[in-house]
Symmetry: C2
Subunit: 242 residues, 2 copies
């Protein structure tokens, strides 16, 4: 079973404030902990990456993690990718001093994930890695990019390696997509829980698009008038476009 489904015509895409509100509903109304949903989200990211770029062919991965929840999803994905057989490195330049994030990083280290403090020149990444995972900015992103995170974004922009973006291609406008001359071109986007406006086909071009984060109750699906494709059997991801 591949969870493959190649239609995205009837999907409803969330704007930024809907994405924020849906997230808050999960925590406030459904009383999920961040730990729970981040674990499921990160697992689904790792699964989508492994379906498109299997570790047998793309052995060495670098996960670029930002300071927020998107970066946390990346830290979880890194640990599961390690369990799936990848060689995994994490670059996490701006760390959030909260126990959950510190523990997720601790887990990565203790699972044998390399922590890369200083990135090489973007053009040299291809010597060490086969794929990049972009967990830098999520649906709360508002420009401009802070100076201290520019080298991380440059790595994603200029390496020439396939980039797998978590929920939002970093640097993109959450609603209007790649609206700068120097915008990221992800090879794979994994939307979490529901796609945001920037995940529309006209923005993604020929990037592959998966949906993960299989944890939405019917109440949320109804409230936000989501029209999500069905997940197959026990799959935690479903492909939205080919």
């Amino acid at each position: 079973m591949t969870g493959k489904q190649c239609s995205s015509s009837s999907i409803r895409y969330l704007n930024q404030s809907e994405a924020v509100a849906l997230d808050q509903d999960l925590f406030n109304e459904y009383k999920f902990s961040v730990d729970q949903l981040m674990e499921l989200a990160g697992l689904s990211v790792a699964m989508a990456v492994a379906k498109v770029y299997p570790p047998s062919l793309y052995k060495s991965s670098l996960i670029v993690c930002g300071p927020g929840n998107n970066g946390g999803d990346g830290l979880v994905a890194a640990r599961h990718m390690k369990l799936f057989g990848y060689k995994v490195a994490v670059h996490y330049p701006k760390r959030t001093p909260r126990p959950l994030y510190e523990n997720l990083l601790h887990q990565c280290k203790n699972f044998g994930v390399d922590i890369v403090e200083q990135l090489p020149h973007p053009k040299d990444l291809i010597n060490d890695y086969n794929i990049l995972v972009d967990a830098l900015f999520g649906f709360s992103f508002k420009p401009p990019v802070r100076d201290e995170l520019k080298p991380a974004l440059d790595a994603l922009l200029d390496s020439g390696l396939p980039v797998c973006s978590v929920d939002i291609p970093s640097g993109w406008d959450v609603e209007n997509g790649p609206n700068t001359d120097r915008a990221l071109k992800p090879a794979l986007l994994i939307s979490l829980s529901a796609p945001k406006l920037c995940a529309k086909p006209e923005f993604l071009g020929d990037a592959k698009h998966y949906l993960g984060g299989r944890f939405l109750p019917l109440g949320i699906i109804t409230k936000y008038k989501l029209n999500l494709p069905p997940y197959l059997e026990q799959e935690q991801v479903v492909q939205l476009s080919c």
Copy 2:
């Protein structure tokens, strides 16, 4: 991919104190939260149940949850089983007044899981359900069964329905297996993280046996000299016996 693998000859089975110590290592040394591991464990339980008893054929399920972590795994499994397409009911006679458990129950209710306060006579369960999930007692269990939980155990013993046990068939000795005349005969056992001694083939007979809880780092596998079968690709469960 089924994750099928029909050999368990070289598996090492944990005794009770090793199971407790391994669990403590995950929390203390690897700094996992209960939320994280319970989410992954419960998800893998739901996946194994759905592989053996697919919701298309076994639509209606009852999850019997005990007061400890085994019951928490059951509450998580109930939510994922609902997402997989089952009609799901939970019986949770002795509730733990801790936020995590209260929130897991809240999530079940808000995902459309029925909470059954009073069980019918065990022989009548077959009128309402197709399968039972036994999340009553886990690897910390020491006899005797408390009076207030006996009706829940009787339901598992006497319904005539297939019983899927989470980690330990309830009422069994964690090391010596079914050592009473009136012992549960599960149809499926899902061992979590690593099988305990009671999961040896001589105790399980013709029950199907899966391993779930794919979250052990190499350090734990080495420390406890585990010889776990490989999980296939991104599978979260692996079959140990057919």
